[in-house]
């Protein structure tokens, strides 16, 4: 369709070019109301093409009125429409006509779906910048007022996001009006609107004159922060950050801090949670002095809050808070004012709190340095490595690299090993899965010797886990280990153990051998694959379980690219052809797939493939599988798969 725009653009408006260029546009226009959502969506996404073909005049007078009333559509169509219209100024005749785009966006700004409304507001904000100051006051500001005084709260919530874009360019009289409208939305009857206003308060404050911020925004902020609904109050915490950034230290102390102190001790845990969650931003916004005097005590309270959600949110912020403290006196401050509370949290009753702390506590070691880490943090790490909750242990283990830099991992390895072993044998498979994923990282940090000695057996044990996801992860883990420790290590330690499993009485374990080979062959390279792995795979083609046999076919297909052509031709092909005549449907199918893949590879290598050596059709004479085959013998998909591969020949 991109090409369509070309001729139509050239002529400015459609009409004269004849049918060739009109037809695709006609289709697009008709599909704007097709029953299939996907087609409507496609058409909306090409709206600029339609508008180009119609020309600016008809776009303004016909297309936009139509779109204004198209608000009954599916959300995704409306979302695309709202997005398109944000970039439409050029298509309606430039900035002088940008106001023509306001009606459709206004109706989109009142739909019930938040994402659509937000997108419409975003586009309106974009378009507002394209208005001339005169047009802004003549068209855009009235729109904002209409939305702000709309009957339904959807329109009023949308209005909240538009004040900050029209305020800076409005005349003084209009500015006063805009502030007035914003004030009334801040005390709207519906909490939805108050929430929208509270969340835009900071943004609006930024474009206001400093005097107005102090005289108008601060009272609004104070009111919202003491709203009867906690869902409104908690949004005031966010506004706190933006407002504090605009004010001097004295003003912050006088105008913002009383509210912030109140929020940190709010009766509702959700408000306190918000304070904890935004703590780093608040800390930066109010500056170091107030942080030391006010925020640190507040943070201590949050760390021992009665609600676990709040403690967890605060625990998450421990590292950032410490990092952002002024360098001077940082260490003593952390040691005296923060660390005692952290020690309490290590033995918290709630596992979310403990695991939140465990995810950041290792980061403190770089801030506190080697000695403090060994003396004060290490006991905590060790306690957490023995925590009853696996998540806590996992979080510690996954962040080992931080400690490694400061004190080296050896300090921990004695406690680490039992923790790892316990996680590795956890009754919950998701826990086992998580620890497997950290294995390559641990292996890198602990080194190959420690690994071989202590962890290798674990990695092998996972291969025979009774949960498939674990066995699968274990095979991927082996591949990553080989990438880390090299092929020689693989040949000596891993490959023999994997290959032994090929004789396991349990067919699932025999299949694991094949999966391991799939994963390892690339990392191990041609030599090991051909000499050690291939014979085992080929031998397993005679397995009595069909699942194993078709996985042999899949494996052969997988490792085919690594093998040299001799092996392919002499060893792989005959086995595949035998499998191609298996009595099991699936084995036959996958064998044929593999045959065609192998054949393709052989062709690529310019290896002469004779017709007579092409695979025979299913059900052909068992003893003579090199028999030439006629096209009439193809039946079913197995045959079709082969025929497809022959097509280029």
């Amino acid at each position: 369709m991109a090409g369509v725009a070309g001729p139509a653009t050239g002529s400015g408006a459609a009409g004269g070019d004849g049918d060739d260029s009109l037809y695709p546009i006609a289709v697009l226009i008709d599909e704007l109301r097709n029953e299939d959502v996907q087609l409507r969506l496609n058409s909306i996404k090409k709206l600029s093409t339609i508008a180009l073909a119609l020309g600016v005049e008809r776009t303004r007078t016909e297309l936009l009125p139509f779109l204004t009333d198209t608000i009954y559509d599916e959300d995704e169509v409306l979302l695309a429409l709202a997005e398109q219209l944000g970039n439409f100024t050029g298509l309606v005749g430039g900035p002088d006509f940008a106001h023509c785009l306001l009606p459709p966006l206004e109706s989109l700004a009142t739909v019930e779906e938040t994402v659509v409304r937000d997108k419409a507001v975003e586009s309106l904000r974009q378009i507002s910048q394209e208005h001339t100051p005169v047009a802004l006051e003549a068209h855009f500001v009235p729109l904002v007022k209409r939305l702000a005084s709309g009957d339904w709260f959807t329109s009023r919530t949308s209005a909240c996001g538009l004040f900050s874009v029209c305020y800076p360019r409005a005349s003084i009289a209009v500015k006063g009006e805009i502030r007035q409208y914003f004030r009334s939305l801040c005390s709207d009857d519906t909490p939805m609107v108050r929430r929208a206003a509270a969340s835009k308060l900071g943004e609006f404050a930024k474009v206001l004159e400093l005097d107005s911020v102090k005289s108008e925004i601060v009272p609004l902020f104070t009111n919202l922060a003491s709203d009867e609904q906690d869902s409104v109050r908690l949004l005031a915490v966010e506004a706190c950050v933006s407002i504090a950034q605009l004010l001097s230290q004295d003003d912050i102390e006088a105008l913002v801090m009383p509210t912030l102190r109140q929020a940190a001790e709010d009766k509702s845990w959700r408000v306190r949670y918000m304070v904890a969650d935004k703590f780093s931003e608040l800390q930066k916004a109010v500056g170091p002095k107030i942080t030391l005097n006010d925020l640190i005590p507040a943070f201590q309270n949050l760390l021992k809050d009665c609600e676990a959600e709040v403690r967890a949110a605060a625990a998450h912020k421990v590292k950032e808070l410490c990092e952002n403290l002024p360098m001077e006196g940082r260490e003593t401050m952390i040691m005296n004012q923060i660390l005692p509370y952290i020690k309490e949290l290590v033995s918290d009753t709630n596992q979310h709190v403990k695991s939140a702390l465990a995810s950041v506590i290792m980061g403190l070691s770089t801030i506190l340095g080697k000695e403090n880490t060994i003396e004060h943090l290490l006991p905590l790490f060790l306690a957490q490595l023995k925590d009853e909750c696996p998540e806590v242990r996992l979080n510690i283990i996954s962040n080992l690299d931080c400690v490694n830099e400061v004190i080296g991992i050896r300090q921990l390895s004695q406690s680490l090993l039992p923790a790892i072993v316990e996680l590795a044998e956890d009754a919950k498979w998701r826990v086992r899965l998580a620890i497997i994923e950290y294995m390559p990282l641990l292996a890198g940090q602990l080194g190959v010797e420690f690994f071989d000695e202590k962890l290798n057996s674990l990695c092998m044990a996972w291969l025979v886990d009774h949960v498939y996801a674990i066995r699968e992860a274990a095979t991927n883990n082996l591949m990553k280990l080989v990438q880390k420790f090299g092929t020689e290590w693989a040949q000596n330690t891993i490959v023999p153990k994997v290959l032994v499993m090929a004789n396991d009485p349990n067919y699932l374990h025999r299949m694991t051998t094949l999966f391991c080979i799939n994963a390892l062959s690339e990392a191990c390279g041609q030599e090991i694959t051909t000499k050690q792995m291939l014979p085992i795979v080929l031998k397993m083609a005679g397995d009595q379980v069909a699942n194993v046999r078709f996985n042999v076919a899949k494996s052969l297909q997988k490792i085919g690219p690594i093998l040299d052509t001799d092996a392919l031709q002499e060893e792989v092909k005959p086995v595949l052809q035998k499998l191609g005549q298996d009595e099991d449907m699936d084995v036959k199918y996958f064998a044929q797939e593999a045959i065609s893949a192998v054949a393709q590879r052989l062709r690529k290598l310019d290896f002469p493939v004779k017709d007579s050596e092409e695979p025979s059709a299913p059900g052909a004479d068992k003893n003579h599988f090199l028999r030439p085959r006629g096209p009439g013998e193809d039946t079913g998909k197995e045959g079709a798969a082969v025929r497809d591969s022959q097509a280029p020949r």
Binding site: L22, E112, P191, Q229
Partner: protein, 479 residues
């Protein structure tokens, strides 16, 4: 074996709908003939009400919930067949004062379909357990409907324009020869007959192991809760893939289960407060500000048991079947098998008012137990000013209690006595041995005709009463 869904305590389903019903009887929802309403003053001295009758049939048509929206302009009903029918009030006009309270069918849609839970081998009925309207946010109306497992958010909107004009087709829909297209046509919107569409906006599924008995929209306009036998979840309207568990009374060992949640509701103004009632006749008030999981209540409402009234059925009949905050938010009302109680939020140790709904059944509990009626879940409603309470009973009777005058009345919703504009006569059940004229003996009450669901217009004296598969709308007399 411990099938979690076999909690039938206080939850015995009387109907046992065996087959899946098709959305067959749309025709039965025919519009009532015009002028079937009569305006009658509904005072307790006179007690005359007039009905407006919407006949239904078939088991799937049994109405399972009735709810006015916040303006009273719309009335929604849900039924056992998973359908939602919305009635709209006739536009008022000066010369038709008598038609003031007439409601006509506005929209009908299939909200829930029967499903099968393959993991638990359980049929999930399509029956609509509850409907709750959302505060109006734009020109469309939104409501939540729920069956045992899944809550759905529906949008009901009007459309009165449709686009006309195609490029590739002519007016009759015949394809045009592409060669004849010389100009582009943009579709034009033309007025058309009003069309009401119901579209599902959100499906909140897979969060309840047990049967959902209540849904309640929060005054913060962004969340609602859904309660089942053992848990209460909090949802955000925008998010369907996660909900927060705010109450969980499931004991670690299901053998220790002694009570279930029977109903739950948010405070009408305080977004952090909600109550839930239990099968033991108690009500807990929780404050979501205090902690994320509200397993510790803030207030606990319980009336001490009268030892002289103790019997085998005490516990069953004290189970609360419905709990409702007053519009003011100062009181809560609870319904148990024989009474309606009003509690002041500031007094936890006993209700401030207790009304006997059908005390004459106290001697019949044994047979009511045998026919399962004792497990019926009667609902209760406040009028717009919280001064009158209404709840249902048997024999198509429903009861109203005036809290100020302490008068009460029994009325009957039945086809025989509810010709359009007819005046409802108060009914009396004879308690003693001697039956007066126009009294009904306790033994002749029909226990299969029960009024479980009623609704009261938010500001006017218009009530909707669901009597099995009939919906009656009554209003007080004005002249």
């Amino acid at each position: 074996m411990n099938y979690p869904d076999e909690i039938t305590y206080g939850n015995k389903d009387h109907f046992r709908l065996a087959s899946f019903s098709l959305p067959s009887s749309l025709l039965h929802w025919s519009k009532p003939p015009p002028s079937r309403t009569w305006t009658v003053v509904m005072t307790y001295q006179q007690d005359y009400l007039s009905p407006c009758l919407y006949p239904l049939s078939a088991l799937s048509d049994i109405i399972s919930t009735v709810e006015f929206n916040h303006t009273g302009e719309l009335l929604a009903t849900g039924d056992k067949g998973g359908r939602v029918v919305i009635f709209q009030r006739e536009q008022e006009s000066k010369n038709q004062v008598h038609r003031r309270g007439e409601y006509n069918v506005y929209s009908t849609f299939q909200s829930h379909e029967p499903e099968f839970d393959y993991l638990k081998s359980l049929e999930i009925e399509e029956k609509i357990n509850k409907i709750r309207w959302l505060p109006q946010q734009n020109a469309a109306y939104f409501l939540l409907s729920t069956n045992d497992k899944t809550v759905k958010l529906w949008k009901v909107s009007e459309r009165d324009k449709r686009p006309e004009g195609y490029n590739l087709k002519d007016e009759e829909g015949r394809l045009r020869d592409p060669a004849t297209i010389t100009t582009l046509r943009v579709p034009v919107l033309r007025p058309m007959d009003l069309m009401v569409e119901a579209t599902p906006r959100r499906v909140f599924a897979n969060a309840h192991t047990y049967h959902i008995n209540s849904i309640s929209v929060n005054s913060d306009y962004e969340t609602y809760m859904s309660a089942d036998d053992l848990r209460i979840n909090l949802w955000n309207f925008e998010i369907t893939n996660q909900s927060f568990n705010i109450v969980d009374i499931k004991p670690a060992n299901m053998e220790e289960l002694t009570e279930v949640i029977t109903a739950a509701e948010f405070h009408p103004h305080h977004c952090n407060t909600f109550v839930y009632s239990s099968s033991k006749g108690t009500i807990r008030l929780c404050d979501m500000r205090a902690s994320a999981l509200c397993d510790r209540h803030t207030k606990f409402f319980e009336e001490p048991e009268d030892p002289s009234n103790r019997s085998f059925f005490s516990e069953i009949i004290s189970s609360i079947s419905d709990v409702k905050f007053s519009h003011s938010g100062r009181c809560i009302m609870t319904r148990d098998y024989l009474t309606v109680k009003v509690w002041d939020l500031n007094m936890e140790n006993r209700p401030v008012e207790t009304y006997q709904v059908h005390d004459y059944l106290r001697s019949k509990l044994c047979s009511l137990y045998e026919n399962d009626c004792i497990f019926d879940k009667f609902e209760c409603v406040w009028n717009g000013s919280d001064s009158v309470i209404m709840t249902g009973s048997y024999n198509n009777f429903f009861r109203m209690f005036d809290r100020n005058t302490k008068r009460d009345v029994t009325l009957e919703a039945s086809r025989e006595n509810s010709k359009p504009r007819a005046i409802l006569k108060p009914r009396k059940v004879c308690v003693g041995g001697k039956r007066r004229k126009d009294e009904i003996s306790v033994d002749s009450l029909d226990f299969s005709k029960k009024i479980l669901h009623t609704a009261w217009h938010p500001s006017e004296n218009i009530i909707a009463v669901a009597a099995t598969n009939n919906l009656y709308i009554f209003q007080d007399k004005v002249n």
